[in-house]
């Protein structure tokens, strides 16, 4: 199969993720959308590794996964804390950090 389809798929996934981040208010959903974008990037890395016939892209994909795992830990912890204090997971409500 032509690897270009992977690129199309990854673009699609990234766009879904990006739109999810922009339009959804629930922090968990936004977080999932971010993960979707990360994985879209991973898919591109792997596809390019395949196209170019070397392993660099695959290695980077593993790094991204590890970083994503760490980020999930921190991000979920923050979301849980925010939920505990505000009884809400909306990302529009915590807006104190501004001008």
């Amino acid at each position: 199969m032509d690897p270009i389809y992977y690129i199309y798929l990854a673009t699609l996934l990234f766009s879904i993720g990006a739109i999810g981040v922009l339009v959804r208010r629930n922090a968990i959903i936004v977080f999932m959308s971010v993960e979707l974008m990360l994985n879209a990037a991973n898919l591109v890395f792997v596809a390019f590794a395949r196209m170019n016939g070397n392993l660099d892209g695959q290695t980077v994909a593993f790094f991204v996964m590890v970083v994503a795992a760490a980020e999930v830990v921190v991000g979920l912890a923050i979301i849980v804390q925010v939920f505990r204090t505000r009884q809400s997971a909306s990302i529009d409500e915590p807006n104190l950090l501004k001008y």
Binding site: V21, L22, V23, D92, N95, K98, Y99
Partner: protein
């Protein structure tokens, strides 16, 4: 003329300067605890210098004429490439007479100050400054190059500043000190430029090198040097147009006025020009400028002296006028140099005597300087009166008093140059007779016009003895120098001397001058001794009113220098506050204003941040794509 190294007694010549300098250092650094013994130390150091000066004079008289220029190198001061300046002293006939004038008159004034300043809480400081002045003045006249002369020149300027402002708690004294210092700076610019020009032209600033190669320089260069030196001399010697500081300088204690602003420092300009005679002999325009400045100053000083009611300011006007005579004589060239120095010496003695006499009168009159409140003091202050009369007869030039010999020679030399210059000098001599008679009549004759609490008395012996010595000097110094000292032959190897024929015999000029002086004196006598002197100054004619205001010297300075400087300063302040600050503050305000608007984008609304990130990423992508196309 050969330059001899210093041997024997001459190797001690550095002590002349070192003694008063050491005295100044001790007095100024030990502080209040030297108040008790400090003044005596000050007198001692200067007197020791005077004794050494006399010994050196005797030693020098024993030498053949051509060996009388002796130099001593104390220290190699500046050494850059092939340019070197030594801290070296030159003792010749010209510096010798100055050394004697400075140290002997200086000693007498130091002794007088023991009495005059007896009750001053800072008297050790006063004597320290006086010692500093004597040291600087000796350095000025003993330097063998212009750069070292400049050091002495500035040193006397500093001492003069410190002493005019000695009573700095008086606002007027502090202002007068600053005025003297600032106006002197204008002249000093002339001297420093002249030194630079000499260095560029001759590659050296020592007297022997400059004068040795002066004739090889172009006349334009020599004229420039001459005019710059004239500017320096005008500043230091209070000549037109830099004369305004001298009258205010009388705010200082009277011994200071006598030593610095009558006898020695103000004559430094005459010394400078007489010392640079080779330059002026080869630069006719510069010499002519000296004569013009001198003639203007002679009349300005005489007119101011005729109108002032303050005894010290009247004497200051007279000093300006008499220094004008000396400047006139140096401007005349080789026919006048000798007589300029001659008059400088006699004037140094009789004017110091007159000032100290005025100080003695003030001492008895509760420091009142207004001559309209004096009168009839001759019977209560006999010694002061007699010595003052000796100075009076000397300054107006009555034979055989010392001023007659020197001033008459200058007038004669002026007639050798032309009837106009000579006539002006004679007319000014007549005015001298008028204002000095006025001063004597208002002070010592007429009726008592004393303040009610004034109890005039004769001053203590420590003050009258210097007066007596200076009075004797006023009487006999002229004859002694002319007949016994043979001043013309003595100074001729240094400054040159030649005589030109005059249309009339010498006795005719003496007669004309004496006639003018006597007429002037009689007018003064009739106006101020025969008639009642009003206690309140009458309105007076326009010339009197102008003279009371120093012939508008301050007004002219204000209009020409002070006001434009103020305007320029204000314009610069405006430029700084509005343009420079405006630029800086304006750019800050622009940045601040923009920031105030831009921070509104920090809304705290997370999804809008995300949107701007996406927008930014899209822009970057578009840019990359567009570049590729």
């Amino acid at each position: 003329m050969t330059v001899m190294p210093a041997e024997g007694l001459f190797s001690l010549m550095w002590l002349l300067i070192a003694l008063p300098l050491a005295g100044a250092a001790i007095l100024l650094f030990t502080g209040r605890r030297s108040n008790a013994w400090g003044p005596y130390l000050g007198v001692l150091t200067v007197s020791a210098s005077a004794v050494l000066g006399v010994l050196l004079l005797i030693e020098m008289m024993g030498l053949p004429t051509e060996d009388r220029t002796i130099t001593q190198v104390a220290y190699q001061w500046v050494f850059i490439g092939n340019f070197s300046v030594d801290l070296a002293f030159q003792l010749d006939q010209l510096s010798m007479v100055f050394i004697l004038l400075i140290t002997i008159v200086g000693s007498l004034i130091h002794i007088y100050s023991l009495g005059y300043m007896a009750h001053d809480p800072d008297k050790r400081k006063f004597f320290g400054y006086l010692n500093l002045f004597v040291a600087a003045m000796l350095l000025l006249v003993m330097a063998n190059n212009y750069l070292l002369l400049y050091v002495g020149w500035e040193g006397v300027g500093v001492a003069s500043y410190l002493l005019i402002g000695f009573w700095q708690q008086k606002r007027s004294a502090a202002a007068a000190a600053k005025k003297a210092f600032i106006i002197n700076r204008v002249g000093d610019v002339g001297l420093s430029l002249a030194i630079m020009l000499m260095f560029v032209t001759f590659g050296s600033v020592t007297f022997s090198d400059v004068f040795g190669s002066a004739t090889q320089a172009s006349e334009g260069t020599l004229t420039a040097i001459g005019l710059l030196l004239l500017l320096a001399a005008a500043g230091k010697s209070a000549q037109f147009p830099l004369q305004a500081w001298l009258l205010d300088a009388m705010e200082g204690p009277t011994p200071v006025s006598a030593l610095i602003h009558a006898a020695t420092m103000v004559t430094a300009g005459v010394y400078l020009i007489a010392r640079s005679n080779v330059i002026y002999n080869n630069a006719e325009i510069a010499a002519m400028a000296v004569i013009i400045v001198a003639l203007i100053t002679i009349f300005m000083g005489a007119i101011i002296g005729s109108a002032k009611d303050d005894i010290k300011k009247a004497l200051a006007g007279s000093t300006m006028s008499q220094i004008g005579y000396m400047m006139l004589a140096v401007g005349l060239g080789p026919i006048g140099y000798v007589f300029a120095i001659f008059h400088l010496l006699t004037h140094g003695v009789f004017k110091a005597g007159l000032f100290l006499g005025a100080g003695s009168v003030m001492h008895g009159m509760n420091d009142n300087v207004n001559m309209r409140r004096y009168g009839a003091l001759r019977s209560v202050m006999v010694i002061t009166f007699i010595t003052f009369m000796a100075g009076y007869l000397a300054i107006i030039g009555i034979p055989p008093f010392s001023g007659f010999w020197s001033k008459d020679e200058i007038i004669h030399a002026a007639f050798e140059r032309g009837w106009f210059i000579g006539g002006a000098a004679v007319l000014a001599a007549g005015i001298t007779g008028f204002y000095m008679t006025r001063m004597v009549a208002m002070t010592f004759f007429g009726k008592k016009r004393w303040e009610t609490d004034a109890h005039p008395h004769e001053s203590p012996a420590v003050m009258t003895i210097p007066l007596i010595i200076l009075g004797l000097g006023s009487t006999f110094l002229g004859m002694a120098l002319l007949f016994w000292g043979d001043i013309e032959a003595w100074l001729e190897p240094v400054v040159g001397y030649e005589s030109e024929p005059t249309p009339l015999p010498t006795s005719a000029y003496i007669g004309i001058t004496l006639a003018f002086v006597i007429v002037g004196s009689i007018i003064g006598w009739i106006t101020y001794a025969r008639r009642e002197v009003p206690i309140e100054a009458p309105h007076g004619n326009w010339l009197t009113r102008a003279a009371r205001k120093d012939l508008y010297g301050d007004a002219v300075n204000h209009a020409l220098v002070v006001a434009p400087t103020n305007y320029a300063a204000r314009a610069l302040v405006f430029f700084d506050a509005r343009i420079v600050d405006g630029f800086v503050n304006g750019s800050a305000a622009i940045v601040g204003g923009l920031s105030g608007r831009m921070r509104r984008t920090q809304s705290g609304f997370i999804r809008s941040y995300a949107l701007s990130m996406v927008g930014g990423a899209v822009l970057v992508l578009l840019a990359l794509v567009l570049v590729r196309i």
